[in-house]
């Protein structure tokens, strides 16, 4: 037993572990806050789309020997604007636009891998996440961007609610809805770029979708759903980390398993509540 505690103590003394915890907590928070709005706007697949774009960027960057973030940030931000705009006003529906951009980005990525050295550690890390290989500068950058995203979200919270709940009303009564949709796009893009390295292309969208859907099972207030999503997301991240540490399970997948477990628990509680409500109504 004491061996186990020694192991834990060592982990917390290890910079790579502390870095993972800091960035993981912040990214979990960002993605869950934005997730509520994205899910309600029916853009939940945007996470997948953008992370695929980001994957394409990384492979190209690796092939060209450039730092991946220099390419992925501008391209992902641009794609994010494009996706939100396309879904707003065109004949190409949102989900098809995301599918088009995703598959396009992946094929560019695969081409880049094929034409150069093949799958490198870097590329593999971006596919499945490599939360324990964050460098000091990765951490500083990710933490700073996450904090900016969280602060922006809080400042724009009321406007994000307004354009999410009823965009026409917001527009009609003088809210610059386009601007706040752009804010949402920008914050989402930043979260994806930062979260990619941690969760990988394959799992990042689960961080966006699950906390919101789980909270919405039980709560009917927007504010409570947002707050609950934030807590749930951070909590599931810690559970995932614990599974990783104890059973040496893959980090990203462990976090997602924790999210699925909570989704099932919340769904069960919500079903029980409905049954109880109905039986009370019948008794009356």
């Amino acid at each position: 037993m004491s061996e186990f505690f020694m192991y834990i103590a060592e982990l917390f003394a290890a910079p790579f572990f502390v870095r993972a915890l800091i960035v993981g907590t912040l990214v979990s928070l960002c993605s869950s806050l934005l997730g509520v709005s994205l899910v309600l706007k029916r853009y939940s697949m945007i996470g997948t789309g953008l992370s695929n774009v980001s994957f394409g960027c990384v492979t190209v960057a690796v092939a060209l020997n450039i730092a991946p973030l220099y390419i992925s940030i501008p391209v992902v931000v641009a794609s994010s604007f494009l996706l939100l705009r396309i879904s707003d006003n065109s004949k190409i529906k949102g989900d098809s636009a995301i599918a088009m951009i995703s598959s396009g980005a992946i094929s560019i990525g695969v081409m880049a891998v094929y034409l150069t050295s093949g799958v490198t550690n870097d590329v593999c890390g971006y596919m499945f996440g490599s939360v324990f290989s964050l460098t000091q500068s990765d951490m500083v950058f990710s933490a700073a961007l996450s904090v900016v995203v969280i602060i922006m979200f809080v400042i724009f919270y009321n406007r994000i609610f307004a354009v999410t709940f009823d965009e026409n009303f917001a527009r009609a009564t003088g809210t610059n809805a386009g601007r706040y949709n752009a804010v949402i796009a920008l914050l989402t893009a930043s979260t994806i770029v930062v979260g990619m390295k941690m969760m990988g292309t394959l799992l990042i969208s689960s961080l966006i979708i699950f906390p919101a859907l789980t909270s919405m099972r039980l709560f009917k207030s927007f504010k409570i759903v947002v707050v609950c999503s934030g807590f749930l997301s951070v909590f599931c991240f810690f559970i995932g980390m614990a599974l990783t540490v104890i059973f040496e399970a893959p980090a990203g997948a462990s976090v997602v398993i924790a999210h699925i477990a909570f989704f099932l628990i919340f769904s069960a509680v919500s079903a029980l509540k409905k049954i109880r409500k109905r039986s009370i109504e019948i008794n009356e």
Binding site: R42, A162, S221
Partner: protein, 242 residues
């Protein structure tokens, strides 16, 4: 300067035509409203009433003509009650949160709501008879209750002009007459300009002006004149006695 603003009308629609994908659904609308007027927009289903409201709200730009606001009217002074709620089924929001969002553009860029915003929301919820349900989920309300919440939200946003698209359709007669007297009070006491789409003769009773649409402008003028025209007589005949 002062004289000029007094002489200018609040809203001036000049030869306005509106279209969806190039198909004109409403053409040649011409009217002027002054501050404090109460306009009732009537016409059959599909005659372009909601489309005109969207034009006035600048959600839709005219394919020809123009809609001019003056007298210091900006969209942040407008309250709006849509015909149907645009929000989707499972949206988590309380009644209070929905109505509070009506205060957003009174904030002038400040990010958070103040105590007085919340107080105003409580007052408006009381006015529409929904204050007991303010913590309730908006999506779990009945259709009529949702309409009352949307009216409260519109009232919260209103500074100078309120647009209502069939605000009482589906409400029972008692609530309907309560809504009408509320709207009339806003018009009379606060001097708010009202533009309301309604088939209801009771609504016409309160109005100062009528705009009758049939994919074009069939009539615009004072209510007293309208009821004397053949068009007005037919409309009253079709919609029961006053």
């Amino acid at each position: 300067m002062r004289v000029v603003t007094i002489l200018m009308s609040l809203i001036n629609c000049k030869d306005v035509s509106l279209a969806y994908d190039g198909n004109i659904v409403l053409s040649d609308v011409n009217f002027q409203l002054n501050s404090g007027d109460y306009l009732c927009v009537v016409g059959e289903n599909g005659s372009g009433k909601s489309t005109l409201i969207k034009g006035l709200l600048r959600l839709k730009s005219p394919v020809s003509g123009e809609i001019v606001f003056s007298d210091g009217l900006y969209s942040s002074h407008i309250g709006y009650m849509p015909q149907q709620s645009a929000a989707q089924r499972d949206f988590p929001a309380t009644v209070f949160e929905v109505v509070l969002s009506g205060r957003l553009n009174s904030r002038r860029g400040k990010p958070f709501y103040s105590k007085s915003d919340r107080q105003e929301v409580s007052e408006k919820l009381y006015d529409v008879g929904m204050e007991g349900l303010k913590k309730h989920s908006y999506q779990e309300l009945s259709g009529g209750q949702q309409q009352r919440v949307l009216l409260a939200r519109a009232l919260c946003a209103t500074k100078k002009l309120i647009l209502l698209d069939e605000p009482v359709s589906g409400l029972d007669p008692v609530v309907t007459s309560e809504m009408y007297s509320l709207i009339q009070e806003v018009n009379k006491k606060d001097g708010i300009t009202v533009i309301m789409v309604s088939h209801d003769l009771n609504a016409i009773k309160y109005s100062t002006h009528i705009l009758h649409l049939g994919n074009t402008q069939l009539f615009f003028g004072k209510t007293a004149e309208y009821v004397e025209t053949p068009l007005g007589k037919r409309f009253i005949g079709e919609n029961g006695n006053v």
